[in-house]
């Protein structure tokens, strides 16, 4: 099943396709998270709505986990081969390469560690069990997990927020290069399309970074979650 790892091009296909899945998740996750600005009721209703999906949620989770694992192992394998063959020059002088392109690996590894921490924090409740057990009552009387307060209390910790901001910024750099690269890897290109998708990738990455970073910043400034 992992035979594609022997081929550089097929490996790139796997990285691109898993990348599309992960970008789709990030866009959805970002839109969902922005509900925090609509208040506790909106965010908690959204969160319990996701839990209520039951088996569907697990299908999505399994697809995402497999995509993430394949994305990481395939890129690590490619980088290992590339390091074996390439050797740098005394003077390095780039004509076309961008910072985001050269930073892909470091950004990717930071994001990986961040995602593991983020899951431990907000999905598994390993980081702060006390906030993970809080409950809120919705307007329809249903008692649910108080995701809103958990996020607010979590981001009031400056270190947690700074790590989040750093990781999300790296994610932005990763997406700026990754979103247009996946088209190139899959053979979708064009004289007008390629420059256009490079711009779209940068804009999408920037919107995601600003949207996600606005959450911890608003919480630390007390604009969001003042009542918690």
């Amino acid at each position: 099943m992992l035979g594609f790892l022997k081929s550089n091009i097929l490996s790139k296909f796997v990285v691109a396709i898993t990348g599309i899945i992960l970008v789709g998740f990030i866009i959805g996750h970002t839109l969902g998270n922005l509900l925090i600005f609509a208040g506790p009721e909106a965010l908690n209703t959204y969160a319990i709505g996701l839990r209520d999906l039951g088996p569907t949620l697990w299908v999505v989770r399994i697809v995402l986990i497999i995509a993430a694992i394949l994305h990481v192992i395939t890129t690590i394998n490619l980088v290992r081969q590339n390091k074996k063959i390439a050797s740098g020059y005394k003077v390095s002088n780039y004509k076309a390469s961008t910072f985001s392109a050269r930073f892909m690996g470091y950004a990717g590894l930071t994001i990986l560690f961040f995602v593991l921490y983020h899951l431990a924090h907000f999905t598994l409740g390993f980081v702060d069990a006390s906030t993970f057990n809080m409950e809120a009552t919705l307007e329809n009387g249903r008692v649910v997990h108080d995701v809103y307060s958990m996020v607010v209390i979590g981001f009031r910790n400056v270190i947690v927020s700074l790590f989040y901001i750093l990781a999300v910024s790296f994610l932005g750099l990763h997406l700026k290069h990754g979103i247009h690269s996946m088209f190139q890897s899959l053979g979708i290109h064009g004289k007008k399309f390629t420059p256009m998708i490079q711009k779209v990738a940068a804009i999408v990455a920037l919107i995601i970074v600003i949207s996600l970073i606005s959450i911890p910043i608003s919480i630390m400034l007390g604009i969001v979650g003042g009542q918690v």
Binding site: K6, S7, N8, I9, L10, S11, K12, F13, L78, Q81, N82, K84, I85, A86, S87, G88, Y89, K90, V91, S92, N93, Y94, K95, A96, S97, T98, A101, R102, M104, H177, H180, S181, F183, Q184, S185, L186, G187, I188, H189, G190, K191, T194
Partner: protein
């Protein structure tokens, strides 16, 4: 002009190499980069020292023999220019210049700036040809080639096989070279019969040679003396995946 050169000297593939410093003086700005090295070598020979070995042949930018990395750029700083066509007027008087061989583990150093690029020849040998019946010449224009396709074929065929793309790639990939060689045959009617077999063979030979993979830095296109476009890499990716996905039919 006077220049301070740092040149990579290496006796052979087994020996360890190192930079050596040379000063050259009274260089005309109308000289090519290779002519400047010729002046240095004459001085070295007169002084009883070993001249710097470097590859060169046509010295008019079409053969692909010259191969050196000048201040970190294969073929030097100019766009779409081979080292032999690079003029000294592009440098400043008193400038320090680092000259290194094309670096890639699949390009072993033979001596000084001369590297063995036969890995690229082996990629061509694996499928970069069209099998035809030899005999009397076919009628001209017997096979109609649309203008748009012949233009693309010519753009791809402009590749002189110098290996600058490989030397410039931070990942040591040979994808620009291989994709150009595939494209100029695959886009023409004469190349159709063996397209799938050729695509699989050349891509797999490229992997077998140990070349790296593309992460879209596009340093190859920027270094290419013929400005071969990275769009050929994208097409190769698709064509290879398609060829592999449909290989079961053959």
């Amino acid at each position: 002009m006077n220049l301070k050169l740092h040149i990579w000297r290496q006796k052979n593939n087994k020996a360890a190499g190192a930079f050596e410093q040379y000063a050259v003086s009274d260089i005309s700005e109308d000289m090519s980069f290779l002519e400047m090295l010729d002046v240095l070598n004459e001085d070295l020979i007169v002084g009883g020292k070993d001249p710097v070995a470097f590859d060169h042949d046509c010295r008019e930018g079409i053969c692909g023999a010259c191969s050196m990395t000048i201040n970190g750029n294969p073929h030097g700083p100019e766009k779409a220019t081979t080292a032999c066509q690079l003029h000294m007027r592009k440098f400043n008087d008193g400038q320090e210049i680092y000259i290194e061989p094309f670096k890639n583990k699949s390009f072993p150093v033979i001596r000084d700036l001369v590297v063995d690029r036969s890995a690229l020849d082996r990629i061509i040998e694996s499928g970069g040809y069209i099998s035809i019946k030899t005999g009397s010449a076919p009628d001209a224009n017997d096979i109609a080639v649309p203008k748009a396709k012949s233009d693309v074929a010519m753009d791809a065929a402009a590749c002189i096989g110098c290996g600058a793309c490989v030397a410039a790639c931070p990942n040591g990939a040979a994808m620009l070279f291989t994709s150009a060689k595939l494209k100029h045959l695959n886009v023409l009617p004469q190349g159709q019969a063996e397209k799938k077999k050729r695509t699989i063979a050349m891509v797999e030979q490229m992997d077998k040679e140990g070349f790296g993979s593309c992460t879209n830095h596009y340093e190859c296109e920027a270094a290419c003396p013929k400005s071969i476009s990275v769009e050929f890499i994208s097409e190769m990716n698709f064509e290879y995946a398609k060829a592999r996905a449909t290989a079961y039919r053959d």
